[in-house]
Amino acid sequence: MHKIALIALSAVAFLSLSLEASAQGNLTGEEIARKIADRPNADPRKGTITFVMQYKDRSRKRQARMLRTETGATHRLLLAFDQPASIRGTSFLSYDHKSASKTDETWLYLPATSRTRRVPASDRADSFMGTELSFGDVKDSFIFGLADYDFSSGGRAGNGRYILKGKARNARVAREIGYGGFTAEIDPATWFPRRITFTDPAGKRLKTIAVRKLDKVGASWTATDFVVTNHLTGRLTKVSLSGLARASNANDNLFDPARLDRVSGRMP
């Protein structure tokens, strides 16, 4: 009887351990990607973002004030550039709609033309203001598009992080996002990618984003120090975010594309 009870207890213990392992250790790629997408990201945040682009012996700097908010179904990012003077007044606004049926939207205001323009979705792959980040990298906020990739899990690394792999769903998506796929290390404590290596649509290793520091506002994590290395060109962009704080007084009108010409002096 004792023997049977021990066997039963062992079986129950094994089953519960297996279930827990399944729940925390053996997540599928899709499940990991969804946890990243569902990561709390709704707290309104502001800060000053600095891009330092390095190539050979040259170095350039861009600085912008940042504002992020979320309105239930849409994550919104606003950047107003202050430095250098040649791009002062340039503003960038993106709406990332959570519904897969709605197209994400991006606008750019250029003072030289006095007009706000919609940026085509295909420009997701284009360099963002001369940095090694693409327009897509900037607006995606370290979230992998669930409609863009087929995901798979690579298990867990020695440091406990999940290894997530993604492959662009088709050639058209690969062209649009500029990536054929990626391999990322995901921190299960924050569901934030800490290191992502992208391949280009042809499968060549393209660039690596290494997140060196995260900060939290409310429940939302933000990368405040990361480095983007382009393996094909040798160029490097260091990105830092200073003064990260809750933007509780952010005026919702700032996120209207029709006002993008005036946001430069209005950022909180």
Partner: protein
């Protein structure tokens, strides 16, 4: 405002601790055509933005332009009395470029003062973008295009959910600024000279007086609706004909600026990787000179201008913009302009070598007159403040065409641009 107070105000703005942004933009350009030096110009535009209250900005900028060449600084007669340059010599011009207060009030925003108002979404062609006049001192070969002239105006914008309202009252009948008679880019095509085909010196040209600031004021209203990846806009503009109607009275050509009304529609939509733009404008009281009237009769006609365009990423990481513009007038009588003008435009841009170099190529082509303009520019960034460029403008086609009239003005340009 005279020059000294304007300079003092700007200097105070540039020096003030409260100023949250100061820049000095400028360029130095030289150009040569088949007759030698055609343009030597220096443009300097200091600008200061000051915070003068909670979220209230004051923006002021001046425009210093000097040119000692055949292109010149443009005509002086296009400015209304309140927008007249502070200094308007033959070779030096100083203007208040912008001078306004921007005042947000909840969902409303008021902009009061001398300002540039940019409507429309088609590049380079002013289909519904008819509130601010433009500088046309080099025909359509200017950068930026349109190079708008700021006008004195009171503007109110309001956001109501997905709808934006934009209302403008501008008691400033400044017209488009043309080249001076005799300058390299003074219009030569008969359609711009009351149908005259001058083989010798032109008759004197004068502008109609536009001193009535209220009667000749521009009133504009625009409503915009944004839904998913689509923008819809409707606009109404009542103001002077900024191009002007050239009428010959036997002695001289008078450039008249009758009032006209324009109703505009815009549609902009993101189709995946392409952004499509559609604009249409209907002016029921446009005026054009009747052919065979010796230039002294202008008739009122319906004018409809439609434009369609698209932006997308092209091969080799290029940015591509293509447009087709159709400008039609309904008239039983023969006019000095074609009944329908069809113009296509193509622009390709590429940055390369770590954004050190930029190449821009543009082709403006009149399908109606088989003439056009090809523009090429290669620029090199020295640092974040300075860049140098080498460019070429090639005009071709018949001397009666919009572009072909300058076929002897093809030129190479070089210069330096800066932002400090």
């Amino acid at each position: 405002m005279r020059l000294r107070p304007a300079l003092c105000a700007l200097a105070a703005g540039l020096a003030a601790n409260a100023a949250n942004a100061q820049t000095v933009d400028g360029e130095i350009i030289v150009a040569a055509d088949e007759d030698g030096l055609s343009r030597a110009a220096v443009l300097i535009e200091p600008e200061a933005t000051l915070s003068v209250g909670p979220a209230v900005d004051a923006v002021m900028s001046l425009r210093f332009e000097t040119a000692g060449s055949r292109t010149g600084t443009g005509s002086r007669s296009g400015f209304s009395p309140i927008s007249a340059p502070l200094v308007k010599g033959d070779d030096l011009r100083v203007e208040i470029d912008e001078f306004y207060l921007s005042i947000p009030a909840g969902a409303l925003e008021f902009t009061l003062g001398k300002q540039e108002i940019a409507w429309g979404s088609i590049d380079g062609a002013r289909v519904v973008d008819t509130v601010s006049p433009a500088r046309l001192t080099e025909g359509l070969a200017r950068n930026p295009r349109p190079d708008r002239i700021a006008i004195w105006a009171a503007r109110m914008r309001a956001i109501v959910g997905r709808v934006d309202f934009d209302l403008v009252f501008a008691p400033d009948p400044t017209a488009n600024q043309l080249a001076e008679p005799g300058a390299a880019f003074f219009p030569q095509a008969p359609r711009f000279l009351a149908g005259l085909e001058p083989s010798g010196p032109l008759p004197p040209i004068r502008r109609e007086d536009r001193g009535d600031l209220i009667d000749d004021a521009t009133l504009g209203a625009r409503i915009s609706y944004r839904l998913d990846a689509t923008d819809l806009r409707a606009s109404f503009v009542r103001g002077i004909d900024q191009d002007g109607v050239p009428v010959f009275d036997g002695q001289r050509i008078e450039l008249r600026h009758p009032r006209r009304h324009t109703i505009g529609l815009e549609f902009v939509r993101q189709f995946g990787g392409v952004v499509g733009r559609l604009e249409a404008a209907w002016t029921p009281d446009a005026r054009f000179v009747v052919a065979g009237s010796l230039g002294n009769e202008a008739t009122e006609v319906d004018r409809i201008v439609g434009a369609i365009g698209a932006d997308f990423s092209g091969p080799l990481d290029t940015y591509v913009n293509v447009q087709l513009i159709v400008d039609h007038v309904s008239s039983d009588r023969q006019l000095v302009r074609p009944r329908t003008d069809v113009i296509s435009t193509l622009r390709i841009q590429k940055d390369f070598d770590d954004d050190l170099h930029a190449l821009r190529a543009e082709w403006l082509n009149s399908v109606t007159d088989s003439d056009g303009l090809v523009r090429l520019e290669l620029s090199r960034r020295i640092d974040d403040r300075f860049s140098i460029f080498l460019a070429g403008d090639i005009f071709y086609g018949s001397s009666s065409g919009i572009f072909g009239q300058y076929s002897e003005r093809s030129r190479i340009l070089s210069g330096i641009r800066f932002t400090l």
